[in-house]
């Protein structure tokens, strides 16, 4: 036989991962770059049943059938775009298991268009669901700790915490200053002022400490033990300050009206209060180290309590 006169075969033989052979029309099979490459590098392969082209292991017979259907449909040039779209829409109405298998198989056969289609379908399935629903749909394990599940968009470094704490400190400082002013009008108890200043220093001091410590550790990947140490310091302040919140708020709803407009308007204040309590609650959730912090916060509260007695 002259080399130049080899006719392209009418059909090719493909063997799936589970050992079954299938005869496929030549044009349809060649749509898959994988098959094309096989034929190109090993001419004569797939001509007979005994020498089929071996498909990758992700392609079982049950998955090959829909893929061939897809190739057969799209291989014909005479289809309009609308027809193709309709076919695609109906084609991907499969359960998640089938879709995943189809995606893997299409990827192994290098059928980019089909991979794109199935990926989009899976993305659509995921989008709009809550994590719980997603886990159910795909049977995924629920193996994140409580702390990790907080706020999907939160940074893994602790920047937002620091910022929130700073806001909290700034707010508390302002409130304390106002209280000081009021006290100055009513009574002149030196004892009170000193303790307030102490507390302010304490807040400032630890605030800066934890900030600088965090800055150094920022580059390291998550190291749970170290994080717990830092957060203990934060929690003790937060716990004490969050406990202060209800008291000071009661005292202040009247006072701020007397003072007139605060630097923060009341809505923002409410929001901040809510955020702080939320935040403190969440911190308490995630960190088992709070047992120890409770003791230290109790001590703090005593000194606060003394300062606040009228």
């Amino acid at each position: 036989m002259l080399p130049g006169s080899i006719q392209p075969p009418k059909s090719l033989w493909l063997e799936t991962a589970d050992g079954l052979q299938e005869e496929v029309e030549h044009e349809v099979a060649m749509l898959c770059p994988f098959v094309y490459n096989e034929v190109y590098h090993q001419p004569g392969k797939g001509m007979t049943r005994k020498t089929p082209i071996l498909l990758p292991q992700q392609v079982s017979m049950s998955v090959l059938k829909p893929i061939l259907e897809y190739c057969r449909f799209h291989q014909l040039p005479g289809r309009s775009n609308k027809e193709r779209k309709l076919f695609d829409e109906r084609f991907i109405r499969l359960d998640t298991k089938r879709l995943c298998e189809l995606t893997a198989a299409a990827d192994s056969l290098q059928l980019k268009a089909l991979v794109d289609l199935t990926s989009r379908a899976l993305a659509r399935m995921i989008e709009g669901k809550t994590p719980e629903e997603i886990r159910e749909t795909f049977h995924l394990p629920d193996d994140l700790t409580e702390e990790e599940k907080l706020e999907p968009l939160r940074n893994t470094t602790d920047d937002p915490r620091i910022r929130l704490l700073n806001r909290l400190y700034a707010k508390k400082r302002k409130e304390l200053q106002e209280k000081e002013k009021l006290k100055g009008i009513n009574q002149a108890e030196l004892q009170d002022e000193r303790s307030l200043e102490d507390l302010l220093l304490f807040i400032n001091g630890t605030g800066e400490d934890s900030k600088s410590r965090k800055g150094g550790r920022c580059k390291k990947k998550r190291n749970h033990r170290k994080k717990k140490e830092h957060s203990k310091a934060e929690i003790s302040e937060n716990a004490s300050s969050s406990k202060i919140d209800p008291e000071s708020d009661d005292a202040f709803t009247f006072d701020t009206e007397l003072d007139g407009d605060d630097d923060l308007d009341p809505l923002m204040k409410e929001e901040l209060d809510r955020e702080v309590e939320d935040f403190a609650r969440r911190l308490n959730f995630g960190w088992p180290g709070r047992q120890i912090s409770r003791v230290s916060s109790a001590l703090l509260i005593e000194s606060w309590g003394d300062g606040n007695k009228e």
């Binding site: 995943c100 893997a104 990827d107 709009g128 669901k129 886990r135 049977h139 629920d142 999907p152 749970h224």
Partner: protein, 292 residues
């Protein structure tokens, strides 16, 4: 090929848990990436909460780079690249979360109410009307926006807040710029008739980090403009009004007015909440603190 799942930290079980997730057995990490790259950034955030493997998979910087470049496309690739390197330590994900941006996956609604005394009729001697109207803005990443003022509620108006602005529904199209030094958005649109230009200046705010779901109105100014300045292209309206003072008007027929009423902040409503949002409630039932 069976992929052993990573046991969660702290589990000391002797037999490693079988990852029942078929999706992880079947799909390679490349394919998981293919799926994630076709999701919105908020979808990625939710996906990161699903399981440990997905938490790590969503940290892929390519995903966030794509999100950033799409959202801030009015600045161009070069400037975005520079920004991420200088201000956000090279982390696209951090820039996405921390840098203020407009949201394009929904509509901003500003609900304005005021009281008006009415005309006494029959038995009602001192009627007082509660007037309630809404401003709607929808932004596009290309620099365009659509604007409408209407007493109609969100779910009705949402239906035609798309495409080009239409005169029939009095939806006005305009262009906006974003100034990231002070989180300000300047939106400018032209009323039909080509004589009046409306400029709205807003500031972006978030109720929780990264939400970017509030726009506080700093000023709304209507002023006159000469038809010649625009030259028939509404895209150029931004350049035409660049640098105008607040009381500047180029058309003596239309005085420059900086409006003092109806400046309630815009609340963001994502598309999937448009039907069910509280902003659809009639005036009597609405909670006045929804805009926040």
């Amino acid at each position: 090929m069976r992929i052993r799942p990573i046991p969660p930290l702290g589990s000391f079980s002797s037999n490693p848990p079988v990852d029942l997730a078929l999706i992880h057995q079947v799909l390679s990490d490349d394919l998981l990436f293919e799926i994630f790259v076709r999701m919105t950034p908020y979808g990625l955030g939710v996906a990161a909460c699903v399981c440990r493997k997905w938490r790590y998979a969503t940290r892929n910087p390519v995903l966030w780079q794509k999100a950033c470049l799409t959202t801030w496309q009015i600045f161009g690739v070069e400037e975005n690249l520079q920004m991420v390197r200088s201000s956000y330590g090279g982390s696209w994900r951090r820039m996405w979360i921390m840098r203020p941006r407009l949201r394009f996956d929904g509509i901003f609604v500003s609900r304005n109410t005021h009281l008006r005394t009415g005309v006494a009729e029959w038995k009602v001697l001192n009627p007082v009307h509660l007037v309630c109207y809404y401003r709607y803005i929808r932004f596009y990443p290309s620099g365009r926006f659509l604007y409408k003022v209407s007493p109609h509620r969100l779910k009705e108006v949402a239906k035609y807040l798309h495409g080009k602005g239409s005169m029939v529904n009095s939806v006005y199209a305009g262009r906006y710029t974003l100034d990231h030094n002070n989180n300000q958005v300047d939106a400018t649109t032209l009323y039909p008739g080509l004589k009046t230009v409306v400029r709205i200046r807003m500031r972006i705010r978030s109720t929780t980090e990264g939400a970017n779901n509030r726009l506080d109105i700093l000023a709304i100014v209507t002023s006159g403009i000469q038809e010649a300045e625009i030259g028939g292209h509404e895209e150029q309206v931004l350049e035409a009004v660049e640098g105008w003072q607040e009381d500047e008007t180029h058309n003596p027929d239309v005085p420059a007015v900086s409006h003092k009423r109806g400046l309630a902040p815009f609340v963001f409503v994502p598309f999937h909440e448009v039907e069910t949002s509280d902003l659809n409630l009639p005036v009597e039932k609405m909670d006045f603190y929804v805009p926040g």
